[in-house]
């Protein structure tokens, strides 16, 4: 009986306040879509970092035959200089953060170049001798680049130290800023959603004041009086969340999986299934938002 009563109250309330309920659905839809996008962008960033940063290395380029760098004034790197550098990396304080050190000779560097781009200008015209030997250092934590750079930069025989992460820095910056913008828009929209839900509940409570007055009078419990209003807000917000989840899923499924990944296939993209990692949180946020709005509003309009 009570369930039936609550259900019919909720249904009537939503119907009577249809325009407001639709507005709530739309605003939560848009705000959660932004929020979900921000989360997915961050997942994409994490994906890329895991994928790429494990592959990137710190390259310690050793002095070539001709170099204008002061460290290389004494000519190309010697075997003893190279050994000294390797010792710093494998036995010194730095060794704790170093995973592996690999010496790439001129010939190997040349082979790699040819392999990467067999028909390119460089592979056609360069010889192995024109290449530069280097130490490829893998770090346990790629973020520790600076420590390695500081320890090796000034050693004799080192021309310069390069962090391959620099290549990705800009891309990550773009993605991170996009995340921030999406999150900021989401915050503004979520605020609008809370205010709108508050107004909707208030209107609904005012339009049913006669009922709630009688309910209080005859000894109906506070829960039964307030629950229909709370449910109205929660249902509208949840519907918005479901729509935004659907929207994100369609976007990832058809825009990223089917199209973008065929255009730039060297990137490890997020998948449509990743949307379902974000989805429960979006639903939770929708419910929490409407709960906050209910608490703010209902105390004033239906209390004893």
């Amino acid at each position: 009986m009570r369930l039936q009563f609550i259900a019919s109250e909720v249904w009537q309330g939503l119907r009577r306040n249809a325009t407001m309920a639709i507005a709530v659905v739309i605003v939560t839809f848009v705000s959660l879509a932004f929020l979900g996008s921000a989360a997915l962008l961050q997942m994409q960033v994490t994906n890329l970092k895991n994928d790429w940063l494990n592959k990137v290395e710190v390259s310690i380029f050793l002095c070539p035959d001709v170099s204008s760098v002061a460290n290389c004034a004494s000519g190309p790197v010697t075997k003893s200089q190279q050994d000294a550098i390797e010792r710093v990396l494998t036995t010194g304080a730095v060794s704790k953060i170093v995973k592996s050190v690999y010496y790439e000779s001129k010939q190997e560097a040349y082979n790699n170049l040819v392999e990467r781009d067999p028909d390119g200008v460089f592979s056609q015209h360069l010889t192995a001798d024109a290449m530069q030997p280097s130490l490829r250092v893998k770090l346990k934590d790629p973020e520790q680049f600076q420590v390695v750079a500081d320890a090796t930069e000034k050693l004799e025989g080192v021309e310069y130290v390069k962090d391959q992460r620099d290549v990705f820095k800009t891309l990550f910056q773009v993605l991170n800023r996009a995340t921030l913008i999406a999150a900021a828009l989401a915050a503004v929209m979520l605020l609008a959603a809370v205010l709108l839900i508050t107004t909707t509940i208030r209107l609904s409570a005012l339009s049913r004041r006669r009922e709630t007055t009688i309910m209080r009078m005859v000894g109906s419990s506070k829960t039964l009086i307030q629950l229909p209003f709370m449910l109205e807000g929660a249902i509208a917000a949840t519907l918005g969340a479901v729509l935004s989840i659907l929207g994100l899923w369609l976007t990832v499924r058809y825009l990223i999986e089917d199209w973008l990944s065929t255009q730039f296939n060297w990137i490890d993209y997020i998948r449509a299934s990743d949307v379902f990692v974000v989805a429960p949180w979006m639903l939770l946020i929708a419910v929490v938002l409407s709960a906050i709005a209910s608490l703010v509003t209902l105390g004033r309009y239906t209390s004893a």
């Binding site: 009986m1 006669r210 309910m215 209080r216 005859v218 000894g219 109906s220 419990s221 009086i225 004893a304």
Partner: protein, 243 residues
């Protein structure tokens, strides 16, 4: 669950005010001052007095819509000073309330208006189907179940309101100017109905301005003036001065 007349038999006193004072605004004149009143099971009492004499405050205190500034109030075996706010609904199920303006739901039929009071306190379908027609018969509205409130006369609307207040068979019925909007002959009918309900053992407390009715009924009269009880007389009349 509160069944019909669920007050324990031991409590024959259903409403007791002990030295109750109510001040709405600090420093202002009290709305009620040092009021001592006791109503027993089956009592019928009029609460009379000019506007602003404290009648409404008295009723609000019984319903625990307001709390006293000083003194203690017992209603239906409960000490209202110690009643947790989440228990207030259980108190209100022991009290039926009728108002001057009927307070019916305009979009519900007579039957639905009465059934609503049972629905919202979680009564079962079967119980509602049994009790509502019975109560409508009691108030003389048998056969008008499907009417909408606007299709009824004022007297009939008030009968619906009384049916709604009484359908759960509360031990107490509070009436705030129930005949205030009705013509004298209709009022007499309403008073007969209240008398009939009173004879079932329900305590009826009725705030009113209606001299004629008070004089006719010859029931207990509690007169308030400026928040004080100036008269509490069995079988009283409206205008009699303090003895």
């Amino acid at each position: 669950m509160a069944g019909a007349v669920s007050t324990p038999r031991a409590h024959t006193t259903v409403i007791r005010f002990d030295n109750v004072t109510k001040v709405y605004l600090r420093g202002a004149r009290p709305a009620l001052e040092d009021v001592d009143v006791t109503l027993e099971r089956g009592d019928f009492a009029f609460l009379v007095g000019a506007s602003g004499s404290g009648k409404s405050t008295f009723l609000k205190l019984v319903l625990r819509e307001e709390r006293p500034t000083a003194g203690r109030i017992h209603v239906a075996g409960r000490d209202l000073g110690r009643l947790a706010s989440w228990r207030v609904p259980t108190l209100r199920r022991e009290i039926g309330a009728v108002f001057q303006d009927f307070r019916l739901l305009p979009n519900k039929t007579v039957y639905e208006n009465v059934a609503f009071a049972l629905q919202v306190i979680g009564k079962g379908k079967r119980q509602i189907e049994n009790t509502v027609p019975e109560t409508l018969d009691l108030v003389g509205l048998g056969g008008k179940e499907k009417r909408m409130p606007h299709e009824l006369s004022g007297g009939e609307q008030q009968r619906v309101a009384i049916a709604r207040a009484f359908v759960n068979h509360p031990p107490i019925l509070l009436c705030d100017e129930p005949t205030g909007n009705l013509d004298p002959s209709t009022s007499v009918g309403i008073m007969r109905l209240l008398d009939r309900i009173n004879r079932t053992g329900t305590t009826v407390l009725m705030a009113t301005h209606d001299e004629q009715i008070v004089d006719q009924m010859r029931k207990r009269v509690i007169e308030l003036r400026d928040g004080r009880v100036v008269r509490d007389q069995l079988q009283g009349v409206y205008g009699l001065e303090t003895v």
